[in-house]
Amino acid sequence: MIVAVVVGFVLGLLAPLVVRVARNGTGWITGLVPIGLFAYFASFLNRIQAGETLFFPYPWLSPLGIGLSFRLDGLSLLFALLITGIGTFVCLYSAGYLAGHPDLGKFYGALFAFMASMLGLVLSDNLVALFVFWELTSVTSYLLIGFDSEREAARRAALQALLVTGAGGLALLAAFVLMQQAAGSFEIAILVERSPDLRTSPLYAAIIFLVLTGAATKSAQFPFHFWLPNAMEAPTPVSTYLHAATMVKGGVYLLARLSPVLGGTDLWRDWLIPLGTVTMLTGAWLSLVQVDLKRILAHTTVGALGACVLLIGMGTQGSLQACMVFLLAHGLYKGSLFLVAGIVDHETGTRNAADLGRLGRAMPLTCIGALLAALSSAGVYPFLGFLGKELLYESTLVGFTPVLLAPCAVAAGIAFAGMGAVVGVRPFFSAQGRFSGQPHDPSPGMWVGPVLLGMVGLLFGLFHGPLHSALITPAVRSCILQAGDIPTPSWHGLDVKLALSALSLLMGGALYWKWSALRGRLCRWRNVGRYGPAAGYDHALCLLEAFARRQTRFFQSGRLNVYLIIVICTAVALLACALVRDNISFSDLVLQRWADVKTYEAVIAAILLTATVVTVRAQSMLVAVVALGVVGYCVAVVYLLFSAPDVAMTQFAIETLSVILLMVVLLRLPRLRTFSTSRQRLRDALVAVSAGLITTLLVLVVTTQARNPKLADFYARNSLVLAKGRNVVNVILVDFRGFDTLGEITVLAVAAIGVYSLVKLGSHRDRIPEGPPFGGEARGDDVSP
């Protein structure tokens, strides 16, 4: 099983090679992968039909309770077959649609990776693995939508899809973590058993909200529906695959998969039913005002996804059955319609439904595929779409508040029927057509998809008995805990739902005939979208960008002192927090420890601090250097007073050297100048003094702690024994830590070379006019000490 999931990623890497070798046969060769996987999954049909659920656990992050466990039950199988089946046609189709595209190899690579992620998503039994695959579908869909990366609109749409679905993914991750907190496992199989714990958990409402956010972003539910129509910037095979058949159904899949875990409560119904209904109506309504074939299809897809969510929200056996049938029918006819729209675009160069017509005679095979799909979309007997719609109406009639839901469903049905016909019928039979070129049927690889998908929709509709027992019933069983007998829908004679079906068909027909006239009136409403959630997305993005820019300008000002102030203030704040938390008493720190100070020590400290102040306030270089020397000498005296003669000697020597160096090198500079305003100086002084104060406190606190004498003892004991030396500090430097000293000497040597070369290097000012850089004669500068 893991091979079946991973093979797509591996072959994705090989795809560019295959494309280069196979050339014209690319579509047929790449199509072998999904058809092979389709056959593999189809081989499980018997066992699944018998009611088995197959588990394939693979160890992954075992200590965290995260395994790469896969499960195959009715729901997974339905989706896996849909993914691989439609994937086959998409592979065939893409070779023709993108023939000669230089990046075809990359395209197939991303497509295979997407297919593998999608399979992983629907097969994972572990929530963490599911999340990983979920995000992988977002990432690969980003690559596929933005495939035409030189168009700005495509990049923008890809980013929008990624941000919206990615944000939803994060919400989902939070939900999964909460579920683990509440029920103690990431395995869906275990969560199903513990679902009573989850439903009574105080986290339940939060989990539902977060899961819904994740599912709603993926499945383009209101108010996140806007990304799906925008994603139509993608190449048509991508729209077919991702935005009609598989990826956007990911959210629906998740809700169906989790409904035995989380579903069946009032809260679940109260959220899902309104969400689905609003989305269904929004999609249906917005589809009416579109003229672009693909955007029409995208909006009706939004509507159909809304219907699926509505049906899952009801959560009854009948509604879940309706959901599965509707979902399958929609995948088949919508995939086919997208492919047709792509062919029409490919042949005529336009996707504007108002401009298209009379294509029926020019491309008869495409026309057949389109007609089959449009009839299924309209819900005409005996297509599978008819069955889906019947079941949808039935569920709304017997379920909750039928007075409200049934009219909504019928309204959506009318839009699906009418707009399906606008895409599938109008371009072929409308009397007028304004386009250029000589359209004709494309290569077999392209027309075989729509025709076969349409035929499958017809066959499933005719022989829905076997379909039910093989696919639909097992799928429904895996979404519901105690499934009773699931009846195969059959002819009930004349009843309300048939009347509703006929009504929506009639109204859909009317919509189709009057579409041109109607659209003109509806177009007035088109700008409403400007105030919709899409505008909110743009606004949020602008705000984020402005915030990032301002923040960058603040933190990356390019001024040393600003950086330093930020660093110092952060350090001071952190230390202050630590000191406050530890609740240090001031009297312990200072008052009781003042007694032991000797006069001469106090005098040295006073001289040191005075010299420091003089250094800071000095106006002339000479004063500053001398005062700095005094500071250094005082520090050396402090070392001397407190038992560090070696350090003191070094400090005396070094201080003398550095004063000389400063004198020689810097005395020729002009007087020290003041560049900053008094306000800036005050600010800097405040920052510096607070840092000094916190350091003082730090020293006081640290010196109250007992030190660990282990290291000192070691050196005290072993200095003579091991290293033959009585001066322990010296022994440490040249023996115990001899390599450190070697490193120190190296640093000094490097610094010396640096100093020497800087001194020897001629000034740029002198050299630049003389031609080649570094070519000019190096003039010895007289700054060397």
Partner: protein, 119 residues
Amino acid sequence: MTVEVELALTVGGLYAAGLYMVLRRSIVKLVIGLALLGHAANLLIFTMGGLVRGQPPLMHPWDTRLWGRFADPVPEALILTAIVIGFGVQAFAIVLIKRIYLDMGTEDLRELQSTDITP
């Protein structure tokens, strides 16, 4: 031994002065600030190592190890290294700013933000 209070104040004063100088726009003051910060850091380590009067970590010729109270040799060794390295850095910085001043004709950091030489 409670003389730490005095040294704590000294260290704080040195830190404040050093940081203030580092925040200046004059590159010369910046180098002076670095020198002050070096002193401050060394004294900080020294003080935290514990202060002992008149007991350097030296052995009498007749002893084979240090006995009784003695100043911790580890921070002393660290500081000794730090002083020398600090000097190397300071010497390099001093020559570098001299070079910068000669080439650019300014010691104001605000004017030294571009890598291109303005003629």
